[in-house]
Amino acid sequence: MLMKGARMVLEALTREGCDVIFGYPGGVTLPIYDVLYDHPIRHILVRHEENACFAAEGYARSTGKVGVCLATSGPGATNLTTGLVDAMMDSIPVVAITGQVPKNLIGRDAFQEADTFGITRSCTKHNYLVKDISELGRTIHEAFHIASTGRPGPVLVDITKDVLLAQGAYHAPGPIHLRGYKVSLEGHGGQIKRAAQMIWEAERPYVYAGGGIVASGASAELRELAEMVECPVAETVMGLGALPSEHPFCINMLGMHGSYAANMGISNADLLIALGVRFDDRVTGRLDAFAPYAKVIHADIDPAEIGKNRRPDLPIVGDIRHVLVKLNKLLAETRETEGGVKSAARIRWMQQIREWQREHPFSDAYSEVEIKPQFLVREIDRVCKGDAIVAVDVGQHQMWAAQYIRFNRPRLWINSGGLGAMGFGLPAAIGAQCANPDKLVVALVGDGGFQMSLPELSTIVSYGLPVKIVVMNNGCLGMIRQWQELFYNRRYCAMELDSFPNCELLAAAFGMRGRTVEKPHHLAGALQEALEEPGPYLLNVKVTPEENVYPMVPAGGAVNEMILEPPQPVEAGD
């Protein structure tokens, strides 16, 4: 089929199942916009390219499909980079299309020229510069293949303007084969057999479940495993919802702000079943004190993750779902003969976990006078009922949300886990709402991150996206304040945000409804009002500024050495 390059881009995107593009036009991408003019693919005009990438991530994170963003050359492309690194860190499938100046102008410092290919090399799983129309169609299909298979990630395709304008032949692609890209899905049968044996032999098994479960769609298999082995399952910040939060074996998040039970559990387990995780420093704390008594089974699709931070006793390279299907089958077959579950030691282990859960549950902070941030998050949880998409920004509110908000299934929890990119929450909610138009999408953001992504209110109103924005407003950068309080002798510096705009006026200026709440007894009503509003809603909730997220493992500390409560004030003269 003969067609223009710009049309070929959209043809290839359509064939890959793309139905929405998040983008911002510019000089060299105008040929694509000329085709978009009457094309079935929907284009969402964001207010900043960084948010185009975040929105594409929100789309991808909430659906599992590849998110697509589009930006022009130069500043358009450089603005994408934070989003690309974010997608890279959290293994999110995103395809970014950027325009480049015409081939004959490359290297001549043309208007809006930047070395996008060079700049984004380390921000992507792979990237391309297309200077020849004959390579265009295949390259876009390759980009989708690379983004969505193996360990997912962002792929950028930079296309020169002359290619977008040139005529070329488009062929639907056959199976894609790349010499240097091989994914092993299955997992080694012998290793899996050994894993089953280790699981039955263990007295204190513990599942450490991460984003790999979500990426591979292995929730059902994880649940089956947990119920068969009857052992605690802790989730990373990327794995929330992998096992329903209400499941009896789910012991919530582990790591720096993880639950007491999860962190004590991992510190006492004798077998760690690590599934789709990367032993991130925010989980492990001091590595040599992490899971000191445990043998480690580590299953991951990326061989480079195996042994990166913790040498496993049993490595399994494969797709988590494939691995778990086989493992569960083996466990089911050997359950009767091995009988590990019923052993006295195993029963004691689960009792110990329950005891830890009872000893230090998450704080139930409540006040009649002011809204405690933890109370706000519990209220959001109450109205979401475990079934809403919750996109969060970065900081204290993110950690409280991770602790308190329940999720019945994966892909409801949307956060910037690895990169911790502030300004992520609102645009990610836009992407998630576009992908799930009938679903309740809550953007829970701090007053810091909200102000980083403020212009996107305009996008939300433009497209009538019914996102419910809740600003946890403590008048400061809460996590910065917490660290300065705990580790910098309360020398508070550059953490105050004392000029938050008037919420009602702000919302009205953008053309949406908004309200500020300061009193605990007004909160439920305000949330109800937000939910009943057919369109978007901006709810500004003033909370106690001096609250800290606990438990907390100080950076570089051992995971079982948690700070559980505020430090007692030192009495003068004592």
Binding site: F117, G118, R121, S122, K125, H126, N127, L129, I146, L178, R179, G180, Y181, S184, H188, G190, Q191, K193, R194, D302, P303, A304, I306, G307, K308, L314, P315, I316, V317
Partner: protein, 181 residues
Amino acid sequence: MLQLISLLVENKPGALLRVTGLLSARGYNIESLTVARTLDPEVSRMTIVAEVDPAMRPLLIKQINRLINVIQAIDLSEQPAVCREMMLVRVQVSDEMRAALLKEAEIFRARVVDASPGAYTLEATGATEKLDAFLEMMRTYGEIEVIRSGAMALPRSSVAARKAKQPLRAEQEKQLRKVTV
């Protein structure tokens, strides 16, 4: 200590940058790097010598292998390999010392590739240490200029190379054997 890495990469724009970028992002200095096409014009072979913390080497190899354009990366520091380097040296030499220089060069199997009044240009190949020694020798004749190609290496057996593409699978197989025995 230096790590010797041998790579097969797709002969595509940016492939070199991906590999060197991975090293520079981790703060590793590249001591030498050679790259050229193989028999298959779509594939290049690359040899890199870099200063890499020994504990990080297996991870580095895996991360290089993860690059889409890399077909195979192996660590040759710990396994049998043929490793050679080439060098061109221009020596400013007085007329009366020319004969002596040529004799000395013969010991190192270096060849004269250019001669001009007052100077010889010699070509030498060999192991890095041998070339170092040759250079020391040539210095005694007069002022020298030098260019070195950096190490070029091939694994001693191609089977070893094939296995190393999937170090994990090899590791798994080894463990499996232990289990069944």
